[in-house]
């Protein structure tokens, strides 16, 4: 039951075969038993959860069903403000920080009837200062439930691990550049990075104002669509939050149209052999419901330098007070203790150069993506990294290929990562479906078709016996 999708749980709650309180109690129990072992939890919100669950049960009994999230427990990455509950940003200097308001994403989920059971662990400051190993949170390293000696990915480490191990049915993560896609791949969950501006960031920690996005991490792509529909939309508190509607599921006429999919040339050339094999099999399967263009040339542009310049400058500005106080020295990962100081030396003209290049990059990518519903690539070149090693020593010589994740983030485009098999050490691999701005519904529809034909998303990690 606890590994069920949101849609399945919702049917059970609506039919009153299970109560929200019972469900919340069950997930709270798992959070208590396994959360720390996975390094996935910052704060368990038991009292709030039971209060919200009781209210949900009361309303459902009275016939006031709010929708598919009503009564469903969830966890939120600990960068979203929650009134009266610590919001630590994963970092020692902020571990006692408490806000007196809720982030818009938390408010929207409450309005949809969802039940907050935990603030989930994260890489300190969302990884903005250049961490180079998994032990980069004051709660310790996040561990993938598939093998506890390996990282859950970051910076949404807690959402990835907690969702994969059924400590929550779904969670909210954030991505500046890769922080939803990576933990989704390393933990074997379905994670959706929305279009920039799709979801309000009001009340969420800022690392990079022009790159930060909040998005759902779930067991299925369909659940990602359900959650995104609840959290998307305009917010007067966040001027970047757009008034565009997110309609999910897609209107019937659109849904039956055959998909056009492109395979990003070179994206699987230098990846681990199992990642390549799983990717090729996934593409083969996609051919059942899509016209596939096997070799799409990705633009050769300096995506990596642009994203690192922007994150560096905006992050150093966002955390200037931390740097000037010297409290960056309290951060867990050694690189994080000095990385912000280096970033603070980004020259204004270099930052502006990066921001100016974004225009041509967006246009070039949009021109390419306008021909397809999705371009696909392996989510990551490797399976997860060992906890004990620095990232750059984990898989030397593997990687390269087009910078799909930085490119999508620079252009503000959506992407979804879904599990597509297993690789070395029984660790999950993923495929990312990337799309045109505001094209999330198409990506979710395509990913859902893939998941209808596969059962990778239904596999359970061996965490209970570990």
């Amino acid at each position: 039951m606890l590994y069920s999708s949101v849609r399945e749980l919702s049917e059970q709650i609506r039919a009153r075969r299970i109560t929200s309180v019972a469900l919340a109690e069950a997930y709270l129990d798992r959070l208590g038993r396994l959360g720390q072992r996975l390094g996935a939890v910052a704060t368990i919100t038991r009292d709030l959860a039971l209060k919200e669950a009781r209210e949900a049960d009361r309303e459902i009994r009275a016939g006031r069903w709010r929708g598919p999230l009503h009564g469903i427990p969830y966890g939120v990455k600990d960068l979203a403000a929650t009134r009266g509950i610590p919001t630590t940003w994963g970092a020692e200097p902020y571990k006692d920080q408490v806000f007196d308001y809720d982030a818009t994403v938390v408010k929207r989920l409450r309005e949809a009837g969802a039940v907050l059971v935990a603030k989930l662990a994260m890489v300190e400051l969302a990884g903005g200062f250049g961490y180079n190993n998994a032990d980069a949170s004051f709660t310790g390293p996040g561990r993938t439930p598939w093998n506890l000696e390996y990282w859950s990915g970051g910076s949404s480490s807690g959402p990835g691990a907690a969702t994969a191990a059924a400590l929550v049915p779904f969670s909210i993560g954030s991505e500046t550049s890769g922080s939803i896609i990576t933990p989704s791949a390393f933990c074997g969950v379905s994670g959706l990075r929305p279009t920039y501006g799709r979801v309000s960031r009001h009340g969420a920690m800022a690392l990079s104002w022009t790159l930060d996005k909040l998005g759902p991490m779930c067991r299925t792509a369909d659940d990602c669509g359900i959650v995104l529909a609840a959290i998307a939309g305009r917010d007067p508190m966040d001027p970047t939050a757009a008034a565009r509607q997110f309609v999910y599921p897609e209107p019937a006429g659109r849904a039956v149209k055959k998909f056009r999919v492109g395979v990003i040339k070179g994206s699987a050339d230098r990846v681990q052999p199992e990642v390549k094999k799983n990717f090729e099999e996934s593409v083969k399967l996609l051919r059942r419901f899509a016209d596939v263009d096997d070799s799409v040339e990705f633009p050769d542009m300096p995506f990596g330098p642009v994203v690192s310049t922007i994150v560096g400058a905006e992050g150093a500005s966002a955390f200037r007070d931390l740097l000037e106080s010297g409290r960056a020295g309290l951060l867990r990962q050694t690189n994080d203790r000095w990385g912000g100081y280096a970033a603070s030396m980004t020259l204004a003209v270099d930052y502006l150069q990066a921001m100016r290049i974004r225009g041509p990059m967006k246009r070039e990518l949009d021109k390419l993506y306008s021909k397809y519903d999705a371009l696909v690539a392996p989510s990551r070149a490797t399976v997860s990294y060992p906890i004990a090693l620095d990232f750059d020593k984990a898989y030397p010589g593997v990687g390269g290929g087009p910078a799909v994740i930085p490119a999508g983030n620079i252009a503000g485009q959506p992407a979804i990562s879904i599990p597509n098999g297993f690789g070395a050490n029984n660790l999950p691999t993923g495929i990312q479906l990337t799309g045109r701005a505001w094209g999330e519904a198409r990506l979710v529809a395509l990913a859902s078709l893939y998941q209808r034909e596969t059962d990778w998303h239904r596999k359970r990690p061996p965490v209970d016996s570990a």
Binding site: G130, T210, P239, M301, P302, G304, P305, V306, S308, T309, G312, L323, E324, G326, A328, G329, N335, R337, W338, G339, Y341, A342, A343, S344, M345, T346, L347, D350, L352, Q353, A354, M355, R356, I357, R358, G359, P360, K362
Partner: protein, 114 residues
């Protein structure tokens, strides 16, 4: 971890002097290479130094970090910062190769609305 001993107080005039010397230092390698070759420096304007030798710009910017934050940083950290700034400078060099025209605006828009 040993901390650097840096003067706690630096007068604004000494900061200005230091900034001026940095500007000269940063510009010097480009100017001298251009003068030696007798042609306009190629794009990117600064040649990339060998990987094991941080550029003078990285050296100079690290001095700024030291002046601003030295009391919070060890020598080892300052060396790492120097390497990191050097990498950022290489990124900046790569970005400078990207052809932009005058009308290419940064990807944000100011609005007078509150």
């Amino acid at each position: 971890m040993s901390k650097l001993k840096v003067k706690e107080t630096i007068t604004s005039s000494s900061r200005r002097e230091f900034a001026k010397s940095l500007a000269i230092l940063a510009a010097a390698p480009v100017a001298s290479r251009a003068a030696e070759s007798g042609v306009t420096p190629p794009s990117p304007p600064q040649q990339t130094p060998p990987a094991d030798q941080p550029s003078p710009v990285a050296e100079s910017l690290t001095e700024v970090v030291k002046l601003r934050h030295g009391k919070n940083l060890s020598e080892e950290q300052l060396n790492l910062i120097k390497r990191s700034i050097d990498r950022s400078q290489r990124n900046a060099d790569r970005m400078r190769q990207f052809k932009l025209v005058n009308s290419d605006e940064p990807a944000f828009a100011f609005t007078a609305d509150i």
